[in-house]
């Protein structure tokens, strides 16, 4: 069983001086939920674009679903992996929701007669059926991102990269989209690669890749990453509440487990107080 994504010794150079991506290697299992974190400028978006073949690597190799990515087979690669960008407006191509979802289908040369049922089915999946004829200026950020997700799903891709897809949305929009991403991961076994700043999302993912100045500082489960004080402090990463609480309690001699779950933590703290 091949991996969804495999990256070996990847290097990319944007400016003359530094390597934006400096010898990175990692792999991503099919059906997993991987988050990529790191400060702004660490290379997160660059990796996303390299995986989609939107940027040309300097050296190293990238395999998408077992196929090596190179200039000749970009169309093939784009049949396997898709991306939802950060700015809801700048990736809305069609003049209406319907036209936007159709755009990808047009490029993949789907038969015209088959397009309508596909468009309507995915619009329904993201709850945008009543907005099919709407123009982008009449939609909220969250709604536009839902359309972006529908457009990618409609192309029948199994690997989707989310490049800070919720950072420009209001809390309602963020919630909608996070819920939707979780749904398509759980129900459709889509391999999710999410570049994010949302520490709670990271806590719920299967794997975390931590980038620092173009290098892979660390890769592992959320628990492993959050317990690595050096990484967390050096990179000034946002620390989940439960971890801050746990560390603070430890300084007072109170021991609680490594749980990342708010409910469990509350339970343990209360047990401690009530001496149960």
């Amino acid at each position: 069983m091949s991996k969804a994504v495999e990256v070996k010794n990847l290097k990319y150079q944007y400016t003359e001086e530094n390597l934006t991506i400096d010898d990175i290697s990692f792999s991503i299992d099919k059906g997993s939920y991987t988050t990529i974190i790191g400060h702004n400028g660490s290379g997160k978006s660059t990796i996303a674009k390299l995986l989609l073949g939107l940027l040309e690597k300097k050296s190293g190799s990238i395999y998408i679903d077992g196929i090596e990515l190179n200039y000749e087979n970009l169309s093939q690669i784009r049949n396997k992996i898709g991306i939802v960008f950060q700015n809801p407006d700048n990736q809305f191509i069609g003049s209406t929701v319907r036209d936007d979802i159709a755009f990808g289908l047009e490029n993949h040369c789907i038969e015209r007669e088959k397009m309508d049922p596909i468009i309507e089915s995915f619009a329904s999946k993201v709850n945008m059926t009543e907005f099919l004829e709407s123009e982008p200026t009449k939609l909220s950020g969250g709604q536009k991102q839902r359309v972006a997700i529908a457009s990618v799903l409609a192309m029948d891709l199994n690997i989707i990269v989310f490049d800070e897809a919720t950072s420009m949305l209001d809390p309602t929009g963020k919630r909608e989209i996070n819920r939707l991403i979780k749904e398509i991961h759980d129900e459709n076994q889509i391999t999710v690669i999410s570049i994010t700043h949302d520490i709670e999302e990271v806590a719920q993912s299967d794997n975390v890749l931590v980038l620092d100045n173009g290098k892979l500082a660390m890769a592992g489960t959320p628990e492993k990453v959050f317990s690595n004080e050096k990484v967390m402090v050096n990179m000034k990463l946002d620390i989940p509440f439960v971890y801050k609480l746990r560390n603070s309690l430890r300084t007072k001699g109170v021991k609680v487990s490594n749980t990342l779950d708010l409910e469990r933590m509350a339970e343990e703290v209360c047990r401690y107080i009530l001496k149960k």
Binding site: K49, L52, L54, S75, R78, N79, G82, I83, F85, N87, D89, N90, Q91, F92, I93, G94, S95, D99, A102, F103, G104, L105, E106, N107, H108, C109, I110, E111, R112, M115, E135, P136, T137, S151, V152, M155
Partner: protein, 265 residues
């Protein structure tokens, strides 16, 4: 901004609105040719009646069409005055002192006015009853034979559709930038020439930067969804000729032939 009526699409549900955009483009071309056939006032009268019927069936209001015509009025009056002094053919109709007003001058000017009026009515009807995107599609289809000569008709049509899609977005952005700069003390109305230039720059530069960023992001999004310039694609939207398109084209052609005959006979 909201008072520009020339070129604006009016969403209604009329016979003309429902015609195929290709039909309307072709009909417009034929009618424009017809206008230039010198068949005298009778000819213009026939065209006028035809257009009147079309206008009624398009459900557009007369005041709307008049608004489209109004900007040209000033120029026409100016033209009339010039012609009165220059054209000296025909009989003399009026004499004021040493100035003679010739019939030729009056008739020529009236012809020009009539032609202009008819042209404006025709083009306004086209743009008012056809969504810009449908117009683009119609043009793309009609020009597709040119693709065989390596003219990138599809790419041009794609560019036009994208521009149309982003016009409202860019307008909103311009509004925002204006407000932001007003908050920094920019006053578009007063100030020295140099200050006014700075004020305009403070609007245009951010708008340009933003547009380039959008174009960049858009290109990435399009590529990621499999778009390749020049590659084969299937077009989702389809234009279909109906019986009504057929009769429209037949009647317009009939009109042209009729006018030619009128002129010849």
């Amino acid at each position: 901004m909201n008072n520009i009526t020339l070129g604006k699409y009016i969403p209604l549900n009329s016979f003309v609105h429902k015609l195929d955009p290709r039909t309307k483009i072709i009909a417009m071309m034929i009618l424009l040719i017809a206008i230039f056939i010198p068949a005298g006032f009778v000819g213009y009268g026939i065209i006028g009646i035809f257009l009147l019927i079309s206008l009624i069936s398009s459900k557009l209001s007369f005041s709307f069409v008049w608004k489209s015509f109004k900007p040209s009025l000033f120029m026409l009056v100016f033209l009339l005055i010039i012609n009165m002094f220059i054209i000296k053919t025909g009989d003399v109709w009026l004499t004021i002192g040493s100035f003679n007003l010739y019939s030729g001058a009056v008739i020529q000017t009236v012809y020009i006015v009539l032609r202009l009026l008819l042209m404006i009515v025709i083009t306004t009807m086209l743009t008012a009853t056809t969504k810009p995107l449908d117009l683009t599609m119609g043009l793309e289809d009609l020009l597709s034979p040119l693709a065989k000569l390596n003219v990138p008709t599809h790419d041009i049509a794609m560019m036009i559709s994208l521009a149309l899609r982003f016009i409202p977005t860019l307008l909103e952005e311009a509004q925002r930038i204006l407000k932001a700069q007003a908050s920094r003390g920019v006053d578009m109305e007063s100030g020295s020439f140099k200050e006014k230039i700075q004020a305009i720059l403070s609007l245009i530069v951010p708008l340009f930067v933003s547009s380039f960023q959008k174009a960049d992001d858009l290109a990435d999004a399009m590529e990621a969804r499999g778009y390749v310039v020049g590659a084969k694609r299937v077009r989702y939207k389809k234009l279909k000729f109906t019986f009504f398109d057929f009769i429209t084209l037949v009647s317009v052609s009939g009109l042209l032939v009729g006018l030619i005959l009128l002129k010849v006979l």
